[in-house]
């Protein structure tokens, strides 16, 4: 899923300065799964914003909506009746959903209520960890199903750096596994350590954002 997290409340309050009627809109898909932008979070955040602004002497009316998927125009269209009643929109969907809303209601300022951070899974209750960086050149087949692009702090392609901690965690974070240690262990468990010996050449990053904004065209579907 696409993972996002709330921006600091003071930042949210500052962005809503001067607005009287604000539409707070969430999304019931990824950001609901990561407890940042679903219906529950919309309903939690609205009074927090209202009270926070009130403390600063600003009365604001917050209208709440949660779309099924904020990244689909059909669902965004559901906001067309309410939009004329507000002077700003705050979205707590991922950056994709936010942009669709901003594009559809171009006259209204759109404020991001969350920071979109990663493509991740819920590893445990209350813990989400990155899995993919959309690199455009998937190498999971060579790394026993573990992604070194998203999960190695240095996106190394040829094995662990010298910084793997003694307990097998990554040098940058004592709570994050060194993914290369896990790759090596998986290879070993399958008796295929030799598979990791081949030097993997420099990666072609051009099918990701590094090649310019991605544009996938499928003539057969047009």
């Amino acid at each position: 899923m696409i993972v996002a997290e709330w921006k600091p409340i003071p930042e949210l309050l500052a962005s809503l300065k001067g607005h009287k009627n604000v539409l707070l809109v969430g999304c019931a898909t990824c950001v609901a799964e990561c407890a940042a932008g679903g219906e529950r979070e919309v309903l939690t955040l609205a009074p927090v914003l209202k009270m926070g602004l009130k403390d600063q002497g600003q009365e604001v009316n917050i209208i709440t909506r949660t779309l099924e998927r904020q990244c689909e125009p059909e669902f965004v269209e559901e906001l067309s009746e309410i939009a004329p009643q507000v002077d700003a929109i705050m979205s707590i969907a991922c950056g994709i959903g936010m942009q669709l809303v901003a594009e559809r209601f171009i006259d209204l300022p759109l404020y991001p209520g969350v920071n979109t951070t990663s493509l991740a899974i819920r590893e445990q209750a209350g813990l989400w960890t990155a899995r993919c960086a959309a690199c455009g050149d998937c190498m999971l087949g060579e790394t026993f199903g573990l992604c070194p692009v998203a999960r190695c702090a240095k996106s190394l392609m040829n094995g662990p750096c010298g910084g793997t901690r003694k307990d097998g965690k990554c040098e940058v974070d004592e709570n994050t596994e060194c993914i290369w240690r896990l790759i090596v262990e998986r290879a070993e468990a399958k008796g295929r350590l030799e598979d990791l010996v081949k030097v993997r050449p420099s990666k072609n990053w051009s099918n990701s954002g590094h090649g310019g904004p991605k544009r996938m065209l499928r003539e057969d579907l047009r």
């Binding site: 996106s155 190394l156 094995g159 010298g162 940058v172 060194c178 090596v184 050449p201 420099s202």
Partner: protein
């Protein structure tokens, strides 16, 4: 086609002399004077002097500029290059520039993550965007391409090869340990000519890893220089044992420094013994010696350890 390379370090290794490299960290300043002073202190001792590349992700004078400054003073630099800050375009451009300036030894490293920059007393740049377009092994292959294949990583030809003696780092006792010799094999397959290791204190454990490398024929293809860091206190050793990845310090050694009346002098004795011990390991072709924040001790240690130029064969 292999392009011939001549550096003092390469010649020492080729001649079967026991090689010695030391390290010089560039200043956090545009003033070359501190660098010149450090250089004067250790000139004439070693075959090569590693010049670090924004080590621990702290901004310092560039390793190319600092390398050129010490080259002009008669010290042969080993220019370090990390993959954190530059993409393959910038790195190759800097390599051509370095070659034009007369720099011939280059050591390819992944580099410390920028988060490390805020770990000490300094603020560093933990908010920086890192690059890691290529990793250290791909960098080695890229340098080899510039040297032996007369071509850039992307395939375009270069008019003249860049004659680099290519170095790599090795953490023989790192986690996961049974991959570390294979990782060395990858670096050598990619083109490393010499290898400097993480600090060695546990000589038998290190020797066992070198033995595995020897069994795979790796020590014939690249020269291993054992890393030695002069211990200054029991505290320093136990910190390294607990915290520094890939460094194992035997408990006896920590106890020995603890009991010593003069830990600094004892540290020098330990250093001399370590150097003598690694020198006995078949496949070890030299040492990479560091005296962190105590460079003034190096001339004495080098002499005591029998590493003066005339003692190294």
């Amino acid at each position: 086609m292999k392009t011939p390379v001549q550096t003092q370090l390469q010649q020492a290794i080729a001649a079967g002399r026991f090689a010695l490299t030391l390290e010089i960290g560039p200043p956090q300043s545009p003033n070359p004077e501190p660098l010149r002073q450090k250089a004067a202190l250790i000139k004439g001792l070693a075959d090569g002097y590693n010049v670090t590349d924004n080590q621990t992700a702290v901004v310092r004078m560039s390793s190319i500029a600092a390398s050129k400054i010490i080259l002009d003073l008669g010290l042969e630099p080993v220019m370090q290059m990390v993959c954190r800050d530059r993409n393959r375009i910038a790195m190759q451009s800097d390599l051509l520039g370095a070659s034009a300036l007369g720099l011939k030894n280059v050591l390819a490293l992944s580099g410390d993550h920028q988060k490390a920059s805020a770990a000490g007393k300094l603020q560093g740049h933990p908010g920086a965007k890192n690059v890691y377009d290529i990793d250290s092994i791909q960098l080695i292959a890229t340098i080899k391409g510039l040297r032996d294949d007369g071509r850039q990583e992307g395939g375009d030809p270069i008019a003249e090869p860049a004659p680099f003696f290519i170095g790599a780092a090795w953490t023989p006792l790192g986690t996961p340990r049974n991959f570390r010799v294979l990782r060395l094999a990858k670096k050598i397959a990619a083109g490393a000519d010499f290898v400097q290791t993480q600090a060695v204190y546990d000589v038998p454990a290190f020797a066992a890893q070198v033995q595995k490398a020897r069994d795979m024929g790796l020590t014939d293809k690249a020269a291993i220089l054992a890393g030695i860091i002069v211990p200054r206190s029991a505290g320093m050793l136990s910190y390294m044992d607990r915290q520094v990845p890939g460094v194992e310090v035997p408990a006896e050694l920590i106890a020995r420094l603890k009991q010593a009346k003069d830990p600094k002098a004892e540290g020098i004795k330990v250093t001399v013994e370590l150097i003598q011990a690694v020198r006995e390991i078949p496949g070890v072709k030299g040492v990479h010696l560091q005296a962190i924040e105590a460079e003034e001790l190096l001339p004495e240690i080098v002499k005591a350890a029998g590493l003066s130029p005339q003692d190294r064969g």
